[in-house]
Structures are given as C-alpha cells and as structure tokens.
C-alpha cells in the first residue's frame, strides 16, 4: 500500500514540475474510495479515534471530486493523497481497538477461569 502510494505522489509532482497538463487522478480516486469503504466496513464509524479520520477522509474525498469536476486535477490529487492516508489511518486505528478489546476479553476470561478453578479446588 505504502510502496504504491509514494511513487504515485512523486510522479504526480514530477509531472506538475515539468509543466505538463495534470492528468485526472482516476486511479487514486478509486484507491481512496476503496480505502474509505474498507474503513467503514471495519466499523471505523463506531470508534471515536478512527471516526475522526474517516470523517476527514470523506470530506477530502468530496472536495477532491469537486476539484476534478472543475478541472483542478492538481488539487484533486493532493486531496486524494490526504484522504487516502486518513482512510488508512482509520483502518489501522479500528484494528488496534479491536485487538485491544480482544486482549481485554481474553484477560477477563482468564481471570474468571482462575476464580472458577480456585473455587472448585477449594471444595
């Protein structure tokens, strides 16, 4: 994911620097929409920390689409870059929360088991 993202950014800026016509970022748009969808499906909207970045990704995605519509592909590319990184951060934060919840559940189960075994052992 990151390996693909960095060359894309570098290439975009290289094209701009050479004064060429800025191409429509259709692939970055598709990638960003995909990342936003994944974040939503993972439940990022239900995690406070992830929710903020999902919202940022969504807003920047809308702004990128608007920029593309008006022909400002350069701004759209930059906005998609930010939107995708926010969507991917939302995914990472959602996974982190899920992993921590799983660890806590296991700890609770372990404590319950220890209590149960100790009770049975005392009978």
């Amino acid at each position: 994911m990151q390996v693909q993202l960095i060359p894309m950014v570098a290439t975009s800026w290289l094209v701009l620097g050479c004064g060429a016509t800025y191409p429509a970022p259709t692939q970055p748009l598709a990638d960003t929409e995909s990342a936003e969808r994944s974040a939503t499906e993972l439940g990022a909207a239900n995690q406070p920390k992830a929710q903020l970045h999902l919202q940022l990704a969504h807003e920047q995605l809308l702004r990128a689409k608007a920029a593309m519509k008006s022909g400002d592909n350069e701004s759209a590319t930059a906005l998609l870059l930010r939107a995708r990184s926010d969507a991917e951060l939302a995914i990472a934060l959602t996974r982190e929360e899920a992993a921590k919840a799983g660890a806590q559940t296991a700890t609770d189960q372990s404590n319950t088991q220890q209590l149960k075994n100790a009770t049975q052992g005392g009978q």
Partner: protein, 295 residues
C-alpha cells in the same frame, strides 16, 4: 532511516550556514513528532516494516521542505507522513495486543489443562476409594447373606426336627426355655430303675436323629422328673440317674457331648396331680429341652 538522518543533518547544516530555509510548516513539525513517538513504541520491534514506510514518508516530506521550503507539496507530504507515522504506531499496538491475547489464551489453556488433570486425578482417587468401599460393602453383604442362609437352614432343620419329634413325643415351644420334648417315664424306664427299656432305645434313636438335624450350636438339657411316690431324696437321685442315662444315650447317638447336660429335678416340678394314677404317670417323665443358640 539512514537517508532520513542525512536529510535532517543537511537541514541543520544549511541552517547553520546562514542560508536556512523558512521555518518548517506545522504539518512537518507534527509529522516529526508523530514519527518520534512511533519509533519509540511497539512498532520498532513488532512492526518494523510499517515503521520503515513511515520513515520514508517523513523523508519525502523533509526532502520537499529542503528543496522547496514551505510549499503546498511539502505540507501535503508532511500530512501524509504524519498519518503514516500514526499508522505505524497503531500497527505496533495492534500486534502488541494480539500477542498479549495469544499469550493469555495460551496460559489459560495451560491452566485449564492442568486443572483438568488435577480434577481427573482427584476423580481417580475418589473412584478408587469408592471401589474399595464397594468391595467392603459386597463382602459385608456376602457375610450377611451367608449368615441369613445359615439361620434359615437352621430354622428349617429345627422345624423338620420338631415335626419328626411330634410323632414320637410331646413337643412344645416354651418362650423362655426353648423347645421342650417330653417323653413318658413309663415308656423309657421300668419302675424304680434307671436303665433304658429296649423299646425306649428305638424312640431315643429317633429323638437323636431329630436333634442332629437341629442347630448344631443349640444346647440340650435332659431333665429327669418323678411323681411324689417315695422319698424326695430317692426321687431326686432316681431322676438324676435317669436324666444321665438318656443324656449318655444321646451322646452315643452322635449328639456332641458338650451340647448335652443332664439334671434331675425329682418330684419338685410336677405337671399333673399326683393324687391320681394318670397324674402320677404324667409326672414321671423325661424332658429334653433344646435351647436355641444365642444370636
């Protein structure tokens, strides 16, 4: 990582040389802080690949800032670098939590297995104890069954013996004394004599046969009784000798000697009026008392 350090070094050198670029944009400052935090967290050991990606992103931002200063491109790259650093941090924490969960589950499984083994061991000991108790109970029940069978057999033989005796003598069941077999003195002995009549031996044979069917633990007392004719002392002696004669005869017929005793009561225990011939005939008697064995 090395490249990132070189870029930082170049940035510092350029500042000291007097041709310092403009102050870094806030996005770059934030990205640097985020990367520093991530590089000191779990990602450094648990997800170095993600941390490396974050380092590359920050390096791009730093390079842009070095080349172009505070441009929109630098800010965009810094924004991405900050997110990459946060992603690396989150990925490290995710793996830390997953490892913790795995370790907890492993420990829990080990504890559960140990507990199950302990329970199984305790169950085994309990089952063994139950088996021992069961064996003991079976043994006791077997003894009880044997004892019950022995008693039933003894009672059956006693009933049979009583039935056999009933045909040759008077048999009564006395609550305190036991079974009392009464034989008429006139049948057993001639007048004033203590030796058995020949006909008496046949009857005593039947009595001995019946007694041998009885409980071998029961005690037998042969009692001699007379009427009131003659002196008390004489009758006492006569009754004793007659009882002894019957006792000796029973012993000769395979009744265990230690089971049988003889006692003379003379005229002291009449069962009928001595004024009449019939009463005196009834009083002249030998009683064989069978006392059941103590339970």
């Amino acid at each position: 990582m090395k490249t990132f350090r070189n870029a930082s070094f170049l940035f510092a050198f350029a500042s000291l040389a007097g041709c310092a670029p403009a102050l870094p944009p806030q996005d770059l400052v934030t990205a640097r802080a985020s990367y520093a935090r991530a590089s000191h967290g779990a990602a450094a050991t648990l997800d170095p690949a993600e941390l490396h990606s974050a380092a590359e992103s920050l390096q791009n931002a730093e390079g842009s800032f070095t080349d172009e200063g505070d441009t929109q491109r630098t800010r965009d790259l810094s924004y991405v670098a900050d997110r990459r650093a946060q992603i690396a941090e989150a990925a490290g924490e995710t793996k830390r939590a997953a490892n913790q969960q795995g370790q907890t589950l492993t420990n829990m499984h080990a504890a559960e297995t140990a507990h199950a083994d302990d329970s199984s061991s305790r169950l085994g000991r309990a089952n063994l104890q139950l088996a021992v108790q069961d064996q003991s109970l079976r043994s006791q029940n077997q003894q009880l069954d044997t004892e019950r069978d022995r008693r039933q057999d003894a009672e059956k033989r006693a009933a049979q013996a009583a039935a056999d005796l009933a045909s040759i003598a008077t048999v009564k069941q006395d609550a305190t004394r036991g079974m009392v077999i009464t034989l008429s003195g006139g049948v057993l002995f001639a007048s004033n004599r203590a030796d058995l009549l020949p006909s008496a031996q046949a009857k005593l044979n039947e009595v001995a046969a019946a007694l041998s069917k009885n409980d071998s633990d029961s005690k037998i007392v042969v009692e001699g009784h007379t009427d009131s004719q003659g002196g008390a002392e004489y009758n006492q002696d006569l009754s004793q000798r007659r009882a002894q004669t019957v006792r000796d005869y029973l012993v000769s017929r395979k009744i265990a000697a230690d089971r049988v005793t003889a006692t003379g009561f003379g005229l002291t225990r009449p069962i009928a009026d001595n004024a009449s011939p019939e009463g005196r005939a009834n009083n002249r008697r030998v009683e064989i008392v069978v006392q059941p064995a103590s339970p």
